[in-house]
Symmetry: C2
């Protein structure tokens, strides 16, 4: 069994249902299958072989969905890249993964041109839209057979090479196999997001990241997908598309939900079709989650996953978004095991805080060409996530923070997320990030970087006092700085490293 067959099967079952919608374009499942097969056959005809890799660089569009599916049908793997990276970083990924072809959006033509003489493995460049030196996507497809290519990928074959953001060192490619993606797809259908054929999935977050991983179970059910280009996340475009396309489902990062909440235009649109907001990828402040439920209704489904174990490690369903559970990432899904372990991989008892490890068919095959990193991260089928957390007696997972974000101050461990949660409860706060900065006495001192809501005021002393009133004194920030905005990754995560680096210039962090 392989991922590409999901589309073949959907084309057989739902030939006339709309698969992709974009502008005036409507492509039904029969046509989508033929187009994806056409791309797969053209890749093979142009000299690419099963087992090779195809890079993808571009904003969300249905051609990007097709470019994710077609290599999988041809027995190749796709390497979707974060478009916010620097061209040098794209070059690194394309070379590291030894991509044989690159499909890119015309908006990245200059970008590609700036590095193309340093991409020795790339034999084929395919441009989506626009004009330029490389063959255009639709021309590349033209004339190719719409029948499935004569290739039968095995479940253990590489399907999606998922480059992690690599906050330290170079990015690493997490090898997701057909089996990984099908296990994730089945888990979505069993419990995380049992999609129906009447659903419409909006890709507002990048397809090259989390949002793209929601495509498979929607295809399995014959649901429709529509895209927003994502060079910049635009709340108004999201509202407008939900209303116009009767969108039912969307996958977002917490920072994106906070942007939607802050957009005053929200009230001008009907969002009544929306029944599911899948969110995850970084901590969601409980206070913001409460506001979001008040604004959008009980439509939130939390997912917890990483590039190495995508999307469905745990799920907090709609109905469990109450009380204490709002701070939880939910419970392990049916076919996934989660445990808390210490630094020596020893399982810890219920209620202990330690590193979160996961086991199951969603766990990657390993890091691409990095046996060292694989051996460090995986043991006996368990993958250690680098996240710190605990499981309660009912099986709910509470994530403290990323291990590497932990602050050690005066010998105590402080998880920034806990402090941020408290700061978010201050009525004037729009966004907050807590980091450790060098301190001669304590090793690290806690600093809060805060963006205030437009028109609202707060002082450093007020924020510190607010924290002192709600958490242990040693966890309160020693200092607070107010900022206009916080730097974010291409996927919308707050870049703590960028915030931290200036303070640590010339010094070595102990953690």
């Amino acid at each position: 069994m392989h991922v590409g067959h999901l589309l073949t099967r959907a084309a057989l079952r739902y030939p006339d249902r709309v698969a992709w919608i974009e502008g005036e374009v409507r492509i039904d499942y029969r046509a989508a299958e033929a187009r994806v097969n056409g791309l797969a056959n053209s890749l093979l005809a142009s000299g690419l072989r099963p087992g090779e890799r195809v890079g993808l660089l571009g904003a969300n569009c249905y051609q990007a969905i097709e470019t994710i599916l077609a290599p999988m049908k041809a027995g190749m793997a796709v390497v979707p890249m974060n478009m916010r990276l620097h061209p040098e970083e794209h070059a690194f990924i394309l070379n590291d993964s030894e991509c044989a072809a690159l499909v890119y959006g015309a908006e990245f033509a200059d970008h590609v041109a700036s590095v193309r003489d340093r991409l020795p493995s790339v034999r084929r460049f395919i441009r989506v839209g626009g004009s330029g030196p490389d063959i255009e996507y639709e021309r590349f497809l033209a004339g190719a057979s719409g029948a499935p290519p004569p290739v039968e990928p095995r479940p253990e074959d590489l399907a999606w090479l998922f480059y992690t953001s690599g906050t330290t060192g170079k990015p690493k490619g997490a090898m997701l196999t057909h089996r990984n993606l099908l296990a994730m797809e089945a888990t979505f259908l069993v419990e995380t997001n049992p999609a129906a054929e009447t659903d419409v999935l909006l890709h507002a977050a990048p397809i090259t990241h989390g949002s793209g991983l929601a495509m498979f179970h929607h295809i399995a059910r014959g649901a429709a997908q529509t895209c927003l280009p994502t060079r910049r996340f635009d709340p108004v475009a999201v509202f407008e598309t939900i209303e116009r396309r009767s969108v039912t489902t969307i996958e977002l990062l917490p920072t994106m939900i906070i942007m939607l909440l802050a957009a005053p235009e929200r009230v001008r649109y009907s969002l009544k079709s929306l029944h599911t907001i899948l969110y995850g990828g970084s901590p969601m402040p409980v206070e913001k989650l409460r506001e979001a439920i008040a604004a959008f209704g009980p439509v939130f489904v939390q997912i917890y996953g990483l590039g190495e174990a995508p999307q469905t490690i745990t799920t907090l369903p709609r109905g469990e978004h109450v009380g204490e559970r709002l701070a939880s990432a939910g419970r392990p899904t049916t076919n996934t095991m989660v445990r808390i372990q210490d630094e020596e991989w020893r399982p810890l008892p219920v209620g202990s805080t330690g590193e979160i490890a996961v086991r199951g068919d969603i766990v990657m095959a390993g890091y691409w060409k990095r046996p060292d990193a694989t051996a460090d991260a995986m043991r006996d089928g368990w993958f250690r996530t680098g996240d710190i957390g605990c499981l309660d007696a009912d099986g709910y997972l509470y994530i403290s923070d990323r291990k590497k974000e932990m602050i050690i101050s005066g010998g105590s461990n402080i998880y920034p997320r806990e402090v941020e949660e408290v700061i978010y409860r201050h009525p004037a706060v729009h966004e907050a990030a807590v980091i450790g900065v060098p301190d001669a006495t304590w090793g690290e001192a806690i600093k809060a970087l805060v963006v205030l809501k437009p028109g609202l005021r707060a002082t450093e002393a007020e924020i510190i006092e607010h924290c002192r009133a709600h958490i242990a004194s040693y966890k309160k920030p020693k200092s607070v700085e107010f900022r206009e905005s916080l730097p974010k990754s291409g996927y919308g995560k707050i870049l703590k490293r960028e915030l931290r680096d200036p303070y640590w210039a010339g010094q070595e962090r102990k953690v």
Copy 2:
């Protein structure tokens, strides 16, 4: 991930929900988990090692459910046996699989005694109920820890060694791994039978066969299970239990459904709780299916599977039990691929009749200690089923018959099922079986063996004339014999070989 974890997870999520009901006994999920862990720990403490096998022989009871789950938790495999077999056949299976322990119902004590000195591998005998020389099940469990055993089976480990009925030669053990069973479980939940925690599954057919395979997805949802002992299928007991236990779901063979239809007591019971009858395992005559829908309502879900690819190759859901589709086995499930191929494993185009082959995570790892048989049946991940059928343009599978049941008469292939379907449409017919018997001129001649409904009459000439009116003349029976009953296997399948053998004594069949 392993099968035993489904129960651990259910005990965490639904500790107080009833897992097993039997007579006055109600065991909740917390207790069920502790009991199964107790059995697993006792097996380990008594000297059995992970990787060994545990035989199971007995009528349906909750201890049988526990005996299927506990070895899987201990890293062992279970070998559930058809209780209708001869003791010599049980001995063959126990020796072939080298079982280290045998759990048996007290009703089989004499039976076990008759062969126990020829079971060199069996070091532990455990008796459920009654009295006798071996340790009783509850005593074996007593005092054992209720915590999960310190074993972590891998997905590729053997979980259930499923002995096929072996209509030719000795039975073979189909090796079902944890991954196979979890893939089946997920497919049930995704589409074949999305169970809810309010469901009650009745095991009226043997747990050691198909009905037992429905336990896993019910456990995953925290549903309840109840058992009927199955030495003889008793329609009244089925009706009575459905009413008393508010049974929602039952898995039956077609012959069992025919027995339910023929039982006049049906009208005395309320069956309103029943929303799903899963059926499969042998062809269901369309005429009987119509009658059954009229009698029980639109509750039928057809499943197609074999010991080597259990339960979920295709599904015909409730809503598709209409018109032509009644003769279909449904369409391939989400994570399963089906194709029609010729004798040389070449895929055949849509609409062709040929051998049905299946691929996906439900396909067994191979036959136990039979690399020859495995190589014959499996190639490139495809398993050939031995069933003849075709796929239509909409992806529906129509099964003609087992390859080995095909009759060759005058050079034409005749599938008994097709002839039987016509005979079943005769109003006086209760059951029918069509076989080939030796014929000097035609090689084989078609013979129908018919059981009439009580109080109704039909002659040989009428049955033949009825067939001539509905199918090609060369397919009509040359002779018809009326019988009081037809011989059936322990699982309720009509034993064609037993019907055929007397006619072929001293002659060799060409097919």
